[in-house]
Symmetry: D2
Subunit: 136 residues, 4 copies
Amino acid sequence: MSSTTPEQITQWINDSVGTAQDNGFKVVALRPLEADCILPYQQSQLRAGGTLSGPTMMTLADAAMYAAVLSHYGKQLLAVTQDFSIHFLAKPSQNNLQANAKIIKAGKRSVVLTVHIYSQDNLVALATGTYAMPTK
Amino acid sequence: MSSTTPEQITQWINDSVGTAQDNGFKVVALRPLEADCILPYQQSQLRAGGTLSGPTMMTLADAAMYAAVLSHYGKQLLAVTQDFSIHFLAKPSQNNLQANAKIIKAGKRSVVLTVHIYSQDNLVALATGTYAMPTK
Amino acid sequence: MSSTTPEQITQWINDSVGTAQDNGFKVVALRPLEADCILPYQQSQLRAGGTLSGPTMMTLADAAMYAAVLSHYGKQLLAVTQDFSIHFLAKPSQNNLQANAKIIKAGKRSVVLTVHIYSQDNLVALATGTYAMPTK
Amino acid sequence: MSSTTPEQITQWINDSVGTAQDNGFKVVALRPLEADCILPYQQSQLRAGGTLSGPTMMTLADAAMYAAVLSHYGKQLLAVTQDFSIHFLAKPSQNNLQANAKIIKAGKRSVVLTVHIYSQDNLVALATGTYAMPTK
């Protein structure tokens, strides 16, 4: 694990992914193989029913995976999502979302991760995915 | 299948999902169980490597599924994504994305769909997912 | 949670699923929302490379989910897998496999679960899935 | 695409995967990037409700993917499933299952495939997955 800070990883993601900057995504804590992230609530995240849209949570989950990958492998901005799946468990309220991304396989070619997404301490979604590392 | 038009479905989705309006998402054609959609290219969709971000395609795929569901079941805006998975196959270029959503199981409680996403006629991603229909 | 024993759940699954009996699948411990299971090693589980086949682990994961569902909901044998996904993380050795199934959403219509599969205490696969509960 | 026959691929899979032989799995037709396979009905495939078990279809889907990979890449028996997901759409009857596996991305490092599973010409399940090719 490289000794980068949450602010540094947030900056890298903001520079790499256009939308991350606009939506206020932030890495708040890093541990070996793990990244904790926050997505501030914005009205544009709403969908019919007064809850947050699925893509809002997908976007957060993907960015949190990217944060864990960059923290573990260093500034490999060309790492890309290869596959991604998510189950929605409960409807998040109109509040910030928290995400905990965890690397469960740190391979040379590919990285497998899980992301737990919480709204007010309730688990609202679970995502799993694979990032492909850039070939030399 | 209700006799709604692509413009009508586009409007419903714009009204229901905050971000759909901003990103220019459009339903362009409807057939029984199917919806063809377009996501216009915007610079904010870019990520490191000069390609479009994963969440851009996830957001399109989810909206295209929603379009097919609304077209088949009528104005059931409270239908929500239950699970969603996507494989990324090729890097899209800086152009509009096309999506074809198809209902492969139209149940009373849940709907299973596939979405093929194309960039310049190349298949760049394949998504599958389940929408849960609102209970009466 | 009904007060069934691991032996009782094992018996229900053996009675319900033809192959479970043959392959020696066993529930070994139950906790609220969780079931620990074992699949004894058999030579027929091998595939090229001297490792256990993917379907061996899929079959174990699905049965472990079923065990957690039956433990939580009682003898609802008509609960069926609705969707299932698995990531393979490491190659299991020629030994028994352990599986821990956990319910992360216990809905009335559907149940979402994760299964961690271990070989000699190493995590070798992670599965997630949805069981659909029978309608009355 | 190597010029192997369905019989040849069936034989390779029987030699590579212990259980394939027992369950009567057979490749019946090959086309570029595609393999059609059959799993003969056996009573042991049954589960509560008089339908075929989920793992029966998962096992068929995985073997059909393997068949398409071996047909396209040649005798690469060490190709292994990396991720696998399946949606169950309808309950198969007590009859043979048909599977059509199709490569949708034929990469050097990884192969992405879909499998449609039919029972009596009805689509009963759709699987997607990734095979990892052996590194030299």
